[in-house]
Symmetry: C2
Subunit: 342 residues, 2 copies
């Protein structure tokens, strides 16, 4: 793979990324002055095609990068595309705002990213919040109802309404709450399971009816906190991409993205740390085999916590999107660090 071939490949990919039209030898000779004529470039292109890096949709049309071509580009040719100054400012400014709730922070972050890029963006909240229980409180509402509030050490708050089969006085409720708290404080939140429940129930025999109801809601809260939540934005962005000018394709991809389980899977991907590119078939889902995805991990105090992702057509702006996602991941980690320290 000599240098000129690389230059030609890069030129093809960059042109195709910005125009979405198959690119011909003449275009390259004119727009990207490589100092050789279109005929020479044609020869190079024939070679590149033989190597499987580019393809011809049909005889006598320009060339289009193949998945393999994009992969080569991402691995070897791509410049670090520094964002326009203004964009970095937007991201910074965004993260100096205060967020009252954690889910709001994720949601808004995802949204900002979707406004800065013309693709679908997603953020997955921390993996299996391996948090410990910091607080547990039962707040009386009526004789038959109370609100259960759980706080974990990573600052997550859950609440559930608990219904009791029998009336419960405020005093009794308070007592039970305190006992439960004492027993559960500092424990890993995943430990809230049947075994533990049995154990505690034994101790609280008289209050069995209350404890049962509370435990039910507690495990419900734990279950939903255990699952990583995925925020999705910018789904309509892809309607602007020429590869989605067919309603059938739009439907296929958008329906596919409706399933949160799928999104989690996509974001987990190769769960290495840092940036990750998956191109076309590498995503191994037929529904999005004409798409690529860039993911990046973010962290709290250095511990990898979750993933941010951008999904676009294989013809996406890899360099720009990567810089974008990296910047956002950095700033998000920053904010979460601060939040944690307090």
């Amino acid at each position: 793979m000599d240098e000129r071939k690389q230059k030609v490949l890069r030129a093809i990919i960059m042109d195709y990324i910005s125009t979405a039209d198959p690119v011909g030898s003449r275009t390259i000779a004119k727009k990207y002055n490589l100092g050789v004529s279109s005929a020479t470039i044609r020869n190079e292109m024939a070679d590149l095609e033989e190597m499987g890096l580019i393809e011809q949709p049909h005889t006598s049309s320009g060339r289009v990068p193949s998945d393999k071509g994009y992969r080569y580009y991402v691995d070897h040719l791509m410049d670090e595309d520094d964002l326009v100054g203004g964009e970095k400012d937007i991201i910074r400014a965004f993260f100096t705002d205060r967020f009252n709730r954690l889910d709001q922070l994720y949601h808004e972050t995802c949204k900002v990213l979707s406004e800065l890029s013309p693709y679908v963006t997603m953020i997955m909240t921390p993996v299996k919040s391996s948090g410990t229980l910091e607080q547990l409180q039962l707040i009386p509402v009526s004789p038959f109802q109370a609100v259960l509030v759980l706080v974990t050490d990573v600052g997550l708050v859950h609440h559930r309404t608990v219904d009791f089969p029998v009336p419960v006085s405020e005093e009794r409720l308070k007592e039970v709450g305190q006992i439960l708290f004492k027993r559960l404080k500092g424990r890993n939140i995943d430990d809230v399971n049947i075994t533990l429940m049995r154990e505690i129930s034994g101790e609280l025999k008289e209050e069995l009816d209350i404890v049962d109801s509370v435990f039910e809601m507690m495990s419900d809260a734990v279950k939903s906190s255990g699952e990583e939540k995925v925020f999705l934005e910018g789904t309509l962005n892809i309607l602007n991409q020429p590869e989605f000018n067919d309603v059938k394709k739009v439907k296929e991809v958008l329906s596919f993205l409706q399933d949160e389980k799928i999104l989690r899977e996509l974001l987990h991907g190769k769960n290495g740390i840092g940036m990750n590119f998956s191109i076309g078939d590498e995503l191994s889902h037929d529904e999005i085999n004409r798409c690529s995805m860039i993911t990046c991990t973010y962290s709290i105090n250095g511990n990898t916590m979750g993933n941010i992702g951008i999904l676009g057509p294989t013809r996406m702006e890899y360099a720009r999107s990567a810089s974008l996602i990296k910047e956002v991941a950095k700033e998000l980690s920053n904010v979460l660090d601060h939040n944690e320290k307090k």
Copy 2:
């Protein structure tokens, strides 16, 4: 408007609703045996067109109902379309499930509706929850952080993380929480404003730094609870409708529906009680002037609380959708009643 004209109009609308093709005189003569020939029907159709109830996309094509035609149909011709037995069962069964959280209930309800109808569905949570404060609690997390929990009498629970500028001991926090609760208990949640805050601040002079932070979060919670939240589902359903086989239209409508303020407006609509039909231009938004919307109010203990809506092309199944929405509203009201009584 004699009876035969009505029959013809109804036939045209029903046929168009199910086929989406302009319907001709011959089709009607054959499929809906009105006992007259196509020529006669042609004459009737000419009259109906003169009355503005149907239209011809171009000379020599079949007729298509106009907005006015649909309006006449909805007002005078529509049968109460009883749902297929199975569907009612599905709805019933759905509502016998238990829901741990109120927002989950709304969300799932919206989803069920979107699965039973091929259109976009939405549910708006209670209008300006004019609830009173039932509970207020400050749960310590760290010296600089606490969780504020608010419970209103309609069973809504809000929580916010409060940051303090100075360390606060658990005892002080408890004290402040109790004083605040005493002062605010039973008050309308909208009353939490600056005046009241001043009043209470005066009383709690020593704890000003704490109270300030708490109030900030409180008004944030109140603000977000004051706004009616809208749940939206089935947006992808419309991709199956032939009127949306053009990506441009899809984009226009879907982008339009992204704005929650717009959705609130649509659902408020003519805020009478019960069922409401808005057809085409009656929605007074150009982006959806080829759509119709059916809304229905639901209630808690007889007090009208919020709205459920179905949005589809003007060629939507009015009767079926209306029955569907009515049934769901009934069952939802039912569940909410029960929830309230406890």
